[in-house]
Amino acid sequence: MTSTPREYTAPGMALRTAAILFIFVIAFTAMLSAAYQWTKPAIAASALAEKMKLLNEVLPGSDYDNPMLQDTLTLPPTAELGLKEPSTLYRARKNGQPAALIFEAVAPDGYAGRIRLLIAIRADGSVAGVRVTQHKETPGLGDYVDPKKDKNKTSPWITQFNGLSLASTPAKEWRVRKDGGRIDYHAGATVTPRAVTRAVHQAVLWADIRRDQLFAEGSTQ
């Protein structure tokens, strides 16, 4: 491939190839860092928009008026929520009054590992919304817990939790119908909804006893 007919000594050859490789590395690294710098603001903006979109899925935008992304708490790893790593809790307020808490939880016992959830719980203790953010459940079978994959588009499975609270629903009803509760499930895929239901119940219990403390803690308002 080399067009030069010149003969090189072994060290000369090594030096030459090393120099060429070095030039290629410099050129492509420069290209990479230029692309990174140039796209950074746009990527950060869309990541933020993505986050807001997800938060608005569990809590309608009309239910709060504070900049939620700035009103946060960092939770330590919390066993009750199934979280082995620190997570962020968002506090929604309307007219300065507590409106809802939005936080992550994990159902550790899905059919194929951990199922990550985002849960919004209103100040009155009822569930405002739940979304599955990450899972490895079987496509077409257990993945209907994610409304994007749910065939029922008008009232996806996950919306059953909306409005439930500890006051309206006794502990034994926080289960799928097969186990004597009030949550529907699809035949043939019980493990996934059971895991999600248990995780949501745990999260509601966790938030119920420390709601006021969570809203007040480190508050800048």
Binding site: M1, I20, V25, E50, G188
Partner: protein, 232 residues
């Protein structure tokens, strides 16, 4: 590029050297994402973009790259290009990135790209190399679409599930009755291997039949050229 060269490249990419059916390259991402048509086609589209770009870049730089260190340089070029494409996609076409984005990193590690760069782009001019990249990708596209359709139909009785993530106005087609219990094997990797095996067998059967027919007919000049090429 002549018409002949073009049709040879196209035929190689779409059928004769089909990446999935003949070269059997990059099976890991292929089998992982071909659970439905939409995912399969998305992976193939990402592959087309990456292969066309990698091929054209290598073909343009091919005379500057010493033979001894070509592989590290190829890897450098492919990885850098893909990362730039990934970043640009994320920044400029975010909607599309959300759908296609997860497939781009899968492609970087895919040996199809390096194989085509080494086997074709390093020896051919930029235009031919671009066409080769595109047709190798198109070959992958139809294979993945067929494989995805079979797995989807067997596994959950639908077609085009997930299309609403790409075009919100469209919805998946329920082919089999809604109470179809689903045949799990179709969706799991072993089912993908079995179905891909069937497709390879079908391709070989078609090729064998075509060869049989060619033998019966008096050989045309093209056929002679073909055999000479195959023997070389």
């Amino acid at each position: 590029m002549t018409r002949d060269e073009f049709s040879t490249i196209a035929y190689n990419g779409l059928w004769k050297q089909n990446t999935a059916l003949a070269q059997l390259l990059g099976l890991c991402p292929l089998l992982a994402v071909s659970t439905n048509i939409v995912n399969g086609v998305m992976l193939a589209l990402a592959t087309i973009i990456v292969m066309a770009l990698a091929n054209v870049a290598v073909a343009m730089l091919r005379n500057l790259i010493p033979h001894e260190i070509r592989i590290p340089v190829f890897i450098l070029i492919v990885a850098a290009l893909v990362t730039v494409v990934d970043l640009l996609f994320n920044a400029q076409l975010h909607e599309l990135y959300v759908v296609l984005g997860i497939f781009i990193p899968l492609i970087v590690t895919n040996c199809i790209v390096l194989a085509r760069v080494e086997a074709f782009a390093a020896k051919n001019p930029p235009l031919n190399s671009t066409v080769d990249g595109i047709f190798m990708g198109l070959g992958l596209l139809w294979t993945l679409a067929v494989l995805g359709a079979m797995r989807e139909l067997l596994g959950s009785g639908t077609l085009f599930s997930g299309i609403d993530m790409v075009f919100p106005s469209l919805s998946p087609i329920q082919v089999l009755p809604a109470d179809y219990p689903g045949f799990l094997l179709g969706l799991l990797p072993p089912g993908a291997f079995i179905l891909l095996g069937c497709m390879i067998a079908w391709k070989n059967w078609m090729d064998a039949r075509a060869a049989e027919r060619a033998k019966r007919r008096p050989p045309t000049p093209e056929a002679i050229a073909d055999t000479a090429e195959a023997g070389a």
